[in-house]
Symmetry: C3
Subunit: 671 residues, 3 copies
């Protein structure tokens, strides 16, 4: 268990550095991330490099036992570079040229930007890559943040066309056929007629364009980030061998296919800011944790964790005592081996003046510092137990960026049909039952899971359908959400009864689908086998079971009242559920608890208080259960198994009380 | 009664065409509309034309007894044309250039676009105009859809200035006087200083500009569409004589003066998508029907009728069983002689992937096909009765685009003062009383009507005032809505007590007007002669009766409580009501039922259930009453007169039950 | 007491002028403002001037005893000027070029505009400056209206860079240090790399940029207006000596530092449109009055006062009988010596067609004319008493544009933390206690006040802190609002415990601050010494008293419940209250009434009805109390002191009844 923090030596007087190093050491901090926004200080004039100040800082912190994770400084670029290339800026989908002065504001397809970015990374890694205190690298910072992953400038137009030529083997007829450009006479005679989708008409870029064009532009834009990352990874590997390379991802950020990006990383790290949940007395949604861990099906680092209230013009509420620590343990419980706070001390100027550090602007240690210090001491003590442990999920959530993008472009229904919300709904329902899931891609090792939940296999090429069928045939339990099997890989709708290639495994077909609205007095609900009624949202696939498939839930409302909403189909050694609509949380929880998990052999906790989150890490045969109280009141909770409370250093039996925002880590079984 | 459908042979394999033709034939479909988006397939390269595939399709369908309505393919233009003319695109009021890839996205004032559009229409009509299966033409498709009727590009600037020179006889002083440009020193020295109103200031284009400039720009923009239509009509007439020419209008779309456009058409057709009302158990508003019919005071075609849920990124609820048929009968009842569904089969790709056809994407006939088939059989049976019948309205609604535009620019009051909403309010109130109205222009044959309702004669040139006065003098009953007689034809406010030129016929003047807000606890209402209180909205004209005019309703609320809100004035052989505010529906219904219609000799139905719509077609002395149940429950309704139920083929007496979404057509009187 | 009106001779036939002059004379109007939008009529062609018609009008009105206030015609410019300079237009923060045809739409940094503006002012003042009927001048009209004070065009870029060079003595390192551009590598190598902040990224111009850059751009933009005003003042002084020069300010308009602008004016005038409050039965907020008077700590003119409903596309409710007069007396009571209505007669065309004058468009005197006439008679009678009287406030509100701008850029908290709203909250609370405050700058004569309330001294340079401390040391009572002492003058956050330079006078420091949200069931409140609970909004400074400072209010809610929210500190001969949050109105009223004002020796009225406003003018030892009933019902009110009712010409004792929208002016004391 490692404790870290982001530090910006360039922001503070040199004479303060040592004070900071000492305070960190006393708090148990052993990692600093540095330099990811320091391009101008590292190359103050074009071609004049200065790594001395940074090396001095690295060595100073090294003397205090604090090792450095270095960031490449390419997310922000110097004024002199912007002056050299007037066309370096990104262009928005509405045609506006973005101004200099943000982050991620250079176009990644601009040859000049890319050349200078490569050079600064080359120079930096050559200068510092062998420093013994440099123990890891972070490429750039939060690729795509503030909606910058998609640029519409002429350079991107050119790159997009090249990308399409490769994808379609330079065959414009193939593109026309796949996108169906014959509709509205929009057939291209040549790739040169194509450009990024804009939103200068009355509709948005998403809504006003050919869905095939939009889907491929989203893929291309994601690939641009992946390629930029890979370029830096290769340079770093060359100059700084043996140091793990990561990039700080942004959880549920949706404009980059993180599975692809993670392929080139040694370890996934990410930035965790659960601000919005900090007043609710309920656990922040765990999906981001479960996706980050699922990217490589491996432990992760939290590269940035909220160290106070964050925001730009306005900021979130201040985490009350214990909550920062609680969030850290939530991350650990869900697979993080390092927690690095962002940032050490609040910056006195600039855009993130109010993105608060552990210390306020004045630099005097106060409450939040003490809380971090407690965590440092605990981490040291816990390491012998937890180092090497991992999360071993029995349930997978199939997370698919193609489907997400297709539904982003065409959400089908006015309300309640959002890919991330659906995935989150399933994950949160599992969490209420004490079950942890990995969010994984179709290419993951699915054999780990007893149950695989696919919120919507909306874009479903044949290989995806076949992998899902194989999972079920081998004994897995598959849940398919609504609007599955609808689209071919370029966005065309399949020429078959839905769910198209999934019809055989699902054991049913979709007779009609209906994007209903919730009209007061005309509510749509589904009736479960136990005769409870649950509200449904957005869209209903009206199902017809085939063969020996059985009906589980039925619709209540609209003209298809009584028709099947959920169908269960035994297939091979496993079974598949087709869930035709979006159910309210209680409906999902009931369905999982009584309809799915027992049959699949997944144990559940019943009657967890709403404020309590439970998850597990294991090492060898030992399981560590984390009980997290996300409320501001103490709560009593029944334990999954008795064992030894690591933090209290005491045996615990059937139940424990957890203080407000408190944590219990129980090594289960013998003491 | 004709049943049709939109069909796109270019979207489907040639080997499927015959299956589709057969299925259509079996369903009783005898018309297909084709080719209105096929420019690129008809002219794949500049100057290379290919009409063979289309002719083949026309002939194939012809063999199945299905005749073709051909659309000119100018609403979407090929990539090669957009490549030839970088300035062909429309420019939005905020200065953004629209991208290629939508519909109606070429500027109609671009000389290159117009030349190529003329040429493809020439070539197409020359090639196919004499084909015996081509029975009608549609010009272009939905002029102005997606807000494209108003373009702000330099070509439009030039055309606008020419239009103004003609309007003002090249006299800039006349324009300055009419628009009152002396206000804020905005006098023009020359026509060349004028350009289309933009919304680049902090206000919108509507709100931030001289109202005279805006009103004339709206008129000009409408005239551009009218002129483009006329150009195509002339070409078609030349090459394809004897075939009626239509354009598919968009009901209450407001950026084109449809009265002007309709002048050049042989028959009005329109696109009917009552999606938004399909969950309410109430009739969709009839105003669009009544306006389309009123354009030429003649029967119409429905060129597109919803054949399933429609939408782009998201889509409306699926019409429940019976509702598509019900909507078709609503259109027939209100004057349609053809119902053509849009579209045959849902497109597998492109922007309208989710604008559903009769068949889903898979092409297998299901419920909606069966519903259409039922309609086909019924239409065949009904034709002997209904062919040649027409709607004979006794009430007219004066619908005036100038007033609509003036109030769009300056709505006077924050809430509740929208021209279309006011017209709809009157029409819906009439419908609740079983009374059908034509929405007509001031130039229509007004002698047909006993009652004429003018929601607001806001722009009121002397000729309009005189025609209205003449209508009353001759015995008609006229209802004038609030803010009538306010503006001269270029938007200047009259230099007289309001309602200015209508004061004599109205028998009252406006002492004050007040754009009140509904403050909780400070509601504005009007008290009717029977002492009921009805809520009022938005604006109050405080009236002073003159001569022998009588007060009908009085205000209740604000400082003019007790002052006249409605004044009745006997004038010539008729009478005029001035209604000074916008009353809630119950107020309008009560006013019409007790205050207006009995005196004018218009019969009403009392106590119609809210879900039931009644209207009539007549032929010779025979009247056919349509009883439409727009709810999902059966309802019993008293008949206007006993008669013979054509669909049930049975005599009916005082009342009938109508099934959910059901229809009764009663030939009244002797069996 | 002077009654005036805005009149536009150029809008009406010459033969009407005399009628208008006569009607004005009969109504007691003795001033007309003319010509501020007449550039094109005064210079119809470039270099051709025509002042004859205006002189004729001035003389005609002069013959009726009506003197003229002349406006320079620079807010709107002629078409010929816009044609000469295609780059004359302003550019919005999103890069859009504004069109011609509004007001204030020329860029004030455009050399051509400025040259022609100077010339027309030179010519106009030379021609008319000595006319005996010209008694005062207004520069331009409403600088900055419709958000035009900030322009982003290249000319402004250049001017901004020059302004910055002067501010930072041409030292780019000083700018980099002050703005902290090292953050995100945004250091400038040269002033030429700087340009106005745009909002072309995903955030707004405010939120997406370095706060130092934004704050200085706001200051620069304000200075541009100040400089333009000064330029005209100097020309007028030269040609028309002896006539007071004013500019019509816009109350709480926030893009110009009105304290700076007022420095160059002889007298402050402003435009008073309390439309939004006219239906509420409560007094319109007095802050605009109190700020306008506080600008120079002197009486003011109301240059425009609502003469009916106002608005562009839509308009406000019509003032009921008595309300226009009431508003006039509110202005008089709070320091106005002239009330000039806008405008005489509603314009028949143009953008302000619905900005109603005293007369409707038809020009016939009606109710509103009669109301003005009554006022004219009363003013004549009151002059002997009120002329020379002034408002003598005992309380000051520190109003600081730097702090306002810093909080506009970074409001800190999502809801409830708006500078103007906070200032208004204090002023309104005082008004409910019958206490009048001047809103003044830190450079004002503070010795006049017993109590000084600073809503938030957010930007607090050392000199400000020192002036505030001196005020307390000398015996004053100071109230500091939340987030005081946070920022240095360029927007950097101080390197000290907050409130930084105010910590000594405040006698406390801020341990933490928390931008809480109001979560249902988790409300944040403060408990006052009398144990009442008051809701708090937006942000909480958690205080730690130091030395002998005492805790007054404590927080109730969140994790710092029970900690100090308000601290009282005796300092020198006075005392200081630090108020750490925004309290609801009742909390402010209670705090002022029981906690602050008695100790400071400021008398309060208790239990004023909510609809009644009381304020005072004094002359010598005589005090005139104004009792204003802002409701539509009569109300009885206890008098501060008995005296003589000037309007009723009768003695009054302990209490009086005030009719709906009525006014009582009581000369207190002996009859």
């Amino acid at each position: 268990m490692i404790l870290g923090v982001a530090y910006y030596p360039e922001h503070w007087p040199r004479e303060r550095w040592e004070t900071d190093a000492r305070l960190m050491q006393e708090a148990g901090i052993s990692r600093v991330r540095m330099a990811e926004f320091a391009w101008h200080r590292l190359e103050p004039r074009e071609g004049q490099f200065d790594f001395g100040w940074l090396e001095e800082a690295i060595n100073l912190f090294g003397r205090y036992g604090i090792q450095t994770i270095l960031g490449t400084p390419t997310p922000t670029y110097p004024a002199w570079l912007h002056e050299m290339y007037p066309d370096i800026h990104q262009v928005k989908s509405n045609g506006q040229v973005k101004e200099w002065g943000q982050r991620q504001d250079a176009c990644k397809n601009h040859p000049g930007y890319r050349a200078y970015a490569r050079r600064i990374v080359e120079k930096m890694t050559a200068a510092l890559g062998q420093n013994p205190h440099v123990v890891a690298w972070q490429t750039d910072n939060e690729f795509g943040c503030h909606g910058t992953a998609r640029c519409h400038c002429p350079n991107c137009g050119r790159a997009f066309r090249s990308w399409l030529r490769r994808r379609f083997n330079n065959d414009i007829a193939a593109l026309n056929a796949a996108w169906g450009t014959v509709f509205w006479s929009h057939e291209y005679d040549d790739f040169d007629q194509i450009w990024p989708p804009m939103d200068t008409a009355d509709r948005t870029a998403n809504d006003g364009q050919n869905p095939g064009l939009v889907l491929d532009f989203y893929r291309f834009s994601s690939d641009v980030q992946v390629e930029m990352n890979r370029e830096q990874v290769e340079i770093i590997r060359r100059h700084s061998p043996g140091r793990p390379i990561t990039h700080n991802l942004m959880g549920l950020f949706h404009q980059i296919d993180y599975f692809k990006l993670a392929t080139d990383l040694d370890i996934v790290s990410w930035d965790n800011y659960p601000f919005l949940a900090n007043n609710t007395n309920r656990p922040p949604a765990p999906l981001a944790h479960d996706l980050m861990r699922g990217l490589k099906q491996k432990p992760v680092w939290v590269m940035e964790q909220a160290s106070g209230p964050g925001g730009w013009g306005s900021y979130a509420a201040t985490p009350p005592p214990g909550q920062m620590r609680l969030w850290a343990y939530q991350a650990v419980a869900r697979g993080a081996d390092m927690i690095s706070f962002f940032r050490w001390r609040s910056c006195r100027w600039g855009r993130e003046q109010y993105w608060h550090g552990i210390l306020y602007h004045h630099g005097i240690p106060q409450r939040r510092y003490e809380e971090v210090k407690q965590l440092g001491a605990e981490f040291r003590a816990l390491s012998t137990e937890l180092d090497g442990s991992e999360v071993a999920a029995e349930v997978g959530i199939l997370y698919d960026y193609d489907s997400l993008w297709a539904l982003e472009t065409q959400p089908n229904t006015g309300d309640g049909f959002d890919y991330r919300a659906m995935a989150n709904g399933w994950d949160a329902a599992l969490a209420r039952l004490g079950v942890v899931a990995d969010a994984v891609s179709i290419d993951a090792d699915l054999t780990r899971y007893k149950v695989l939940i696919a919120p919507s296999v909306h874009v479903c090429p044949p290989a995806t359908a076949e992998r899902l069928a194989a999972f079920v045939r081998a004994g897995g339990t598959l849940i398919l959400g609504p609007r599955s099997g609808v689209k071919e890989s370029e966005g065309a709708i399949v020429d078959a009864l839905l769910p198209g290639p999934l019809r055989e495994v699902a054991g049913c077909y979709v007779e009609e689908y209906d994007a209903f609205s919730q009209i007061p007095g005309l509510e749509m609900r589904v009736r479960c086998p136990a005769n409870h009624l649950y509200r449904a949202y957005g869209l209903a696939d009206v199902l017809v079971p085939e063969g020996d498939a059985e009906v589980s839930h039925r619709y209540e409302g609209r003209y298809y009242a009584g028709k099947p909403a959920v169908v269960r189909h035994a297939y091979g050694k496993g079974c598949c559920f087709y869930v035709g609509t979006v159910m309210e949380p209680a409906g999902l929880i009931g369905f999982l608890r009584y309809g799915v998990l027992p049959g699949a052999g997944v144990a559940v906790l019943s009657d967890l208080p709403e404020c309590v989150e439970v998850s597990y890490r294991s090492r060898g045969g030992t399981r560590y259960a984390f009980y997290l109280n996300h409320s501001d009141a103490a709560v009593k909770v029944a334990l999954a198994r008795p064992g030894f409370d690591l933090l209290a250093a005491a045996a615990v039996g059937d139940s424990v009380e957890i203080p407000p925002f408190g944590v219990r880590i129980v090594r289960e079984g013998g003491l």
